[in-house]
Symmetry: C2
Subunit: 348 residues, 2 copies
């Protein structure tokens, strides 16, 4: 009995069936031009018949390239990361690269990852979706001997892809100013490890727009709440509404918080946008469902750009290792922003 079928066919099997040498099969499979048309046809025929596919591990052993791009992400259950990865996949696939995911949900796993750095020899590039890496952790990644691309995080001197948060927030605040608002609240989002970089940038853009319009700054109009925490969000909104001069518009740093603000206001029977306008940032799926005006960023574009950047860095190690790709944002006007109420107006 032939025990040959128990395992996958190898180069040698194809070579034998096609009546050529293993080297020729190898050349054929990689599409090198130094093989004559008829031999190529014979080899491809044999490979097809045997359902032959090259073993990545064997070829990577000698080429030194794994054909794998690793992704570091805190979770996959995230609108942003999911969308980015979904568009990243086909880009890598077209470049013959596979997508390996390291899910690092908690600090324990995270410590273990950075301790051993298992990606070290098992990928050609690393994409980092953890938005709050410390400088020390980044330094660990630096001696990884492979390109590391940061997404939505500015890493000094390292390649990264992100949207222009400052310009986006500035455009958002300008939109509200243009509608006539002067008392504009800003709701920050606090994560497990404090504010993220985007958080700072978006607040900065907001301040810039106010300054440009000559609207005086008021610390009381800035509050913070964790994402997805209804009670805390309600408290923050309550704080804003009980100000001596309450805001006529609320700019939330993230759509998830903006939607939470919407719910709080609806529950309090405060009409949006008649009495208060609400503006978000991200263009989360929920934003469309809630008809929320927001500043859109495209995780699909970010994913695509990151994939292409990784591909280029792999193919050309001499490429600029510190390239930054900054993507634009776009105002998505929907139903939650309007001119402020024309009631008693205290503006000088």
């Amino acid at each position: 009995m032939p025990p040959a079928q128990r395992h996958h066919p190898t180069l040698a099997d194809v070579a034998q069936r096609a009546g050529v040498s293993a080297s020729t099969v190898s050349r054929t499979m990689r599409g090198l031009s130094t093989v004559s048309p008829d031999v190529r046809a014979r080899v491809e025929q044999a490979a097809r018949e045997l359902h032959f596919v090259v073993s990545r591990q064997a070829s990577s052993l000698v080429t030194g390239r794994t054909g794998v791009v690793a992704v570091l992400a805190p979770t996959l259950n995230s609108w942003f990361i999911g969308s980015a990865l979904s568009s990243l996949g086909p880009v890598l696939r077209a470049a013959g690269l596979d997508l390996l995911v390291y899910v690092i949900p908690d600090l324990t796993e995270r410590a273990a990852f950075f301790e051993r750095l298992p990606a070290r020899r098992n990928a050609d590039a690393l994409l980092v979706f953890s938005f709050d890496l410390s400088e020390e952790e980044s330094a660990r990644l630096d001696d990884l001997q492979m390109p590391v691309v940061y997404i939505s995080q500015h890493a000094a001197g390292r390649p990264s892809v992100y949207v222009d948060d400052v310009a986006g927030a500035r455009a958002g605040t300008r939109h509200l100013l243009g509608l006539g608002h002067r008392r504009i609240a800003f709701v920050q989002t606090t994560g497990a490890s404090g504010f993220t970089f985007s958080s700072h940038e978006r607040l900065l853009g907001h301040r810039q727009a106010l300054a440009e319009a000559g609207v005086p700054w008021d610390d009381e109009l800035v509050v913070a709440t964790p994402a997805g925490h209804k009670r805390r969000t309600a408290e923050a909104v309550g704080r804003l509404l009980t100000l001596r001069e309450p805001p006529t518009a609320v700019f939330a740093e993230q759509d998830e918080v903006a939607v939470s603000v919407l719910w709080t206001l609806r529950r309090a029977r405060i009409d949006v946008p008649e009495r208060i306008s609400v503006l978000g940032f991200d263009d989360h799926q929920m934003a469309e469902w809630s008809d929320l005006t927001t500043i859109a960023q495209s995780p699909e574009e970010i994913g695509r750009a990151a994939g292409e950047l990784a591909r280029d860095l792999i193919n050309d190690p001499e490429a600029d290792q510190a390239r930054h790709i900054v993507l634009p944002t776009r105002l998505m006007p929907r139903a939650t922003t309007a001119p402020p109420p024309t009631g008693p107006d205290h503006s000088a």
Copy 2:
């Protein structure tokens, strides 16, 4: 000058530094007991100093195991898939397995995948998240020489993990019946390729519960709409509301549709749950935000179960290759279901 540092350290480098042979380093790294304590300490010390990690590709070449579990998914931008993968990751990681993702968004990519089956030699197991595989495609996966685990899809004679959709839907309809409803509409979800398996099962559970309660079946109360399509959903709801005997409750096969139904009703100024109750299925994030009563399934549990099943099938090829893991659902009572209005009641 020593060019040794240009590439990653190898077993031999560690061996030399520790003054032992490569075999001994290999044994040490794999935790085999046939190495004496002091030698083990020396080797581990050397490995740590050199930041050595074993090359998966080299070891898999000889062991025949890749240490990789591949996942086939139509997208990653999905609440269900994202959650399942997020909990699947740590399970695999604990078993020393890496997670490789094939994102197959469209039919072109799908055809290409099934044509070449690139996972063939490059993974130890495959997890399938595509909920609408044809029998022909499943057959292709059968000759993949590795365990294939189907998620949320019953594949005859093949290992799979899914929730008990029939029981879940039955419990849901019973809940509505218990509240006093007798006219209960059912909203099916149509996907790109028609109804999924879950779709049939959930409708079946609904019918069973009605039959058990002796409530007569009415075809007019079953409508279908694509997920995420506001207009079509509104039309379907409109069709229900204009029936001669309109329903007092709507059971939507998926939360996404249920939420869409909620929006349509709110827009039409129809109070929920006072005039109409709405029940969903899945316990999507949105369900909590919308305070939607629903039948909960846990993608985290499904992911975990699938990961463990894959791990077991890899470690023990003699294991039952057709094991089915059926997970329970749970009724999540929230604010969108209540007894039917006590107005003119035509019930005999």
